[in-house]
């Protein structure tokens, strides 16, 4: 990872640009999505960037968390000049969930409905978003677009919002991975969390760089950035939350899965038509569950992916800092990016938007 460059970019942010933050939601057509075709371009709605004093709601659509456990995130976010509002589900616990389905649904819904909440930060992943996604009424998002933030199990919501509303969201670390002591946090952790601040502020285009992996396939790709947790993406297939990846840059990550299962999931991506028309592929962190004795799979994640994409020509990069590790940068989900997989460096850059259009008529 070319951490130095990245850290300079993130840490050098200083006070973010309020002028940019006051920009109204902008809409532009996705540039390169064959499936959506030029005749039917899917407009992308970018929620307003946050300005000082704006409120970020914190809620638990999936796993549970205590009020104490979100304090490091609350304090840091407030130090950035935002207000936070912890929802009713913070501190609730129903077995593995942050409250019953009804409680988690109600909490998330009121965050969607409340126009004063400018972003919804999911406190943690775990499991449970799929229990409430079909009952959530997302139409307020069209009226008051706001950033939904999270990853892992929250991939359900990010995919659903992308597939059905085409509103940008943020794939990012959540409250449970904010360090207790900011001053003692590892640099990559600090940089990862500050990238969320950058994404929310909209002050600068997102830019990431990492060192190349010998297994990479060089090239340049442009397209909307979509993806998330691979297992979660697999379990959305066939449902209305399933994403169309044609013409897009797909990123995937996972944790705690067997290699054979990862292989099966990449086959599933292919068999559901998610690999053949990609613009580019980003493979993030994969924490492997060790093979059971006698069931050694004998292939690495590199082997698995390389085999699956062999017949395609788009660029592929491995070990990108996104996933269940400390180095997990915030991605603007659905927003066009440019991926350059070079032999010296890999960069992912938020594509300069076309001239902002006016907000569509959302009657």
């Amino acid at each position: 990872m070319n951490r130095k460059n990245f850290l300079t970019s993130v840490l050098g942010l200083g006070v973010f640009c309020a002028a940019r933050a006051s920009t109204p939601p902008s809409v532009h057509a996705s540039k390169s999505a064959p499936a959506q075709s030029a005749s039917n371009p899917q407009p992308l709605l970018i929620p307003p960037y946050l300005k000082p004093g704006d409120t970020i709601g914190i809620t638990c659509p999936a796993g549970d968390i205590t009020l104490k456990e979100i304090q490091p995130a609350v304090q840091l976010i407030e130090s950035w000049g935002f207000k936070t509002l912890a929802g009713n589900t913070v501190g609730k616990k129903d077995f593995i969930y942050g409250g019953t389905d009804a409680e988690r649904l109600a909490d998330f819904q009121q965050m969607l409905d409340n126009p004063d909440i400018k972003a919804i930060l999911c406190a943690r992943g775990g499991y449970g978003s799929v229990h409430i996604v079909d009952q959530l009424n997302f139409s307020p998002l069209l009226k008051y677009p706001k950033w939904v933030i999270g990853f892992s199990d929250i991939t359900v919501l990010l995919c659903h919002i992308h597939a059905n509303l085409h509103i940008a969201s943020i794939h990012s670390k959540m409250c449970n991975s904010f360090p207790d002591d900011w001053n003692k946090a590892e640099p990559v952790q600090v940089a990862s969390i500050l990238s969320l601040r950058q994404a929310l502020s909209g002050s600068d285009k997102m830019k990431y760089s990492t060192s190349p992996n010998p297994q990479n396939r060089p090239g340049t790709a442009e397209g909307q950035l979509v993806g998330g947790n691979l297992k979660t993406i697999e379990t959305l297939a066939g449902t209305r939350s399933d994403i169309d990846t044609a013409g897009k840059i797909l990123f995937v990550e996972d944790t705690g899965e067997y290699l054979y299962s990862i292989d099966r999931m990449f086959w599933q991506l292919q068999r559901t038509g998610k690999l053949d028309r990609l613009s580019g592929l980003i493979v993030g962190g994969f924490k492997i569950k060790p093979d059971d004795p006698g069931e050694e799979f004998g292939r690495t994640v590199y082997d698995i992916v390389t085999e699956r994409v062999r017949t395609y020509a788009y660029p592929v990069c491995f070990d990108f800092p996104v996933g269940h590790q400390k180095e997990n940068y915030a991605f603007k989900y659905g927003v066009p990016h440019t991926l350059v997989v070079g032999t010296d460096q890999v960069t992912l850059t938020e594509t300069a938007q076309p001239n902002p259009l006016t907000q569509p008529n959302l009657s």
Binding site: D94, F95, I96, Y127, V130, H131, D134, E234, T235, L236, A237, G238, T239, R240, S241, D242, Y260, D263, R264, W267, Q268, R271, T272, E295, E296, F297, G298
Partner: protein, 309 residues
């Protein structure tokens, strides 16, 4: 209309292949001996007891070629998969079913083989056999009722199964084609060409070694894919070797399923002998079955003979 392959007659040949995980020949020996005692010839494919040293019983190409030649050979009347594991996904799109469609034969297996069953049902409308595989013949299994049910199915006899009532059962009766298999493989097939709509059918499911939250997630995937709302009935088999997260999930597989289908009113039974716990009856996927669930008795019946639905 589902087409039933011809039932077997004495002297017919059953081919054994391993389209997924590796299996040493000795683990299939009792199965081979038993099939021969039943009066069948057995042809051992190259992937059973192969020289493979990795997870699979051969390379994708080898497994595909072995299964393909069994499908194409008109002298083979049934193909018994030696074992499951993982691997069908990697070859399924490469299989040429033209010969099989012109000359249908019984394909036998479960677990990973669910994908093959589902794919054939979705694309070719030919019945297959969800049934014990080679290892189930070992340790006395060959004399047990489950392997016996496979024999009855191959011979075209009536299949009649019963199980004990379960407090979560929903009473009722349905006559409909049966479909299903391993939940993870059914979920894996969702959104691909390998899964047929389940509306109007009796669905059976089972699984092994999955986390409870993942059983919940996969079952909800089927629900969200529109497969569960118009079922003719649901048969819940065994969910064995289930794992739980450090923080307890708080619901058993049976509770997960009961709660996810609470809004529907079709008959449902739990604890049916299908799955990985040793109890695993032969079920003719695609063929009509009669499911009857009362407070006293659960029965599943599939008429034998040459009837085609």
């Amino acid at each position: 209309m589902t087409q039933l392959p011809p039932f077997l007659r004495p002297g017919d040949t059953i081919g054994i292949v391993c389209p997924a995980g590796y299996m040493p020949l000795k683990k299939a020996q009792t199965c081979i001996d038993t099939l021969q005692q039943w009066g069948y010839r057995v042809e051992i494919g190259a992937t059973l007891g192969s020289v493979s040293h990795d997870y699979f019983s051969g390379t994708d190409r080898e497994r595909l070629a072995d299964l393909q030649q069994m499908l194409d050979n008109p002298g083979i009347k049934a193909i018994l998969c030696g074992r499951g594991g993982y691997g069908l996904t990697r070859i399924i799109d490469g299989i040429d079913f033209a010969g099989f469609c012109g000359n249908p034969k019984w394909i036998i297996g479960y677990s990973d083989i669910t994908l093959l069953h589902a794919h054939i049902e979705a694309n070719f409308g030919i019945a297959t056999l969800h049934a014990p595989m080679a290892a189930a013949f070992n340790e006395g299994g060959a004399e047990g009722p489950y392997v016996h049910s496979l024999r009855l199915a191959l011979e075209g006899k009536d299949l009649s199964y019963a199980c004990d009532p379960h407090p979560f059962n929903r009473h009722g009766q349905s006559i409909a084609p049966i479909t299903g298999g391993n939940l993870a493989l059914l979920a894996h097939a969702a959104g691909t060409v390998s899964l047929a709509p389940m509306a109007g059918k009796i669905l059976f499911i089972e699984d092994v070694g999955e986390y409870l939250y993942n059983i919940d997630r996969m079952f909800r995937q089927l629900k969200r894919s529109g497969h569960l709302d118009r079922l003719a009935g649901l048969i819940v088999g065994s969910f064995t070797e289930g794992k739980d997260t450090t923080r307890p999930f708080g619901a058993t597989p049976e509770e997960i399923i009961r709660d996810a289908i609470a809004e529907y009113d079709y008959p449902v039974c739990f604890g049916f002998p299908v799955g990985h716990d040793g109890r695993n009856v032969a079920l003719k996927i695609g063929a009509p079955h009669r499911l009857s669930i009362t407070g006293e008795k659960i029965s599943l019946y599939c008429p034998g003979g040459g009837t085609t639905s």
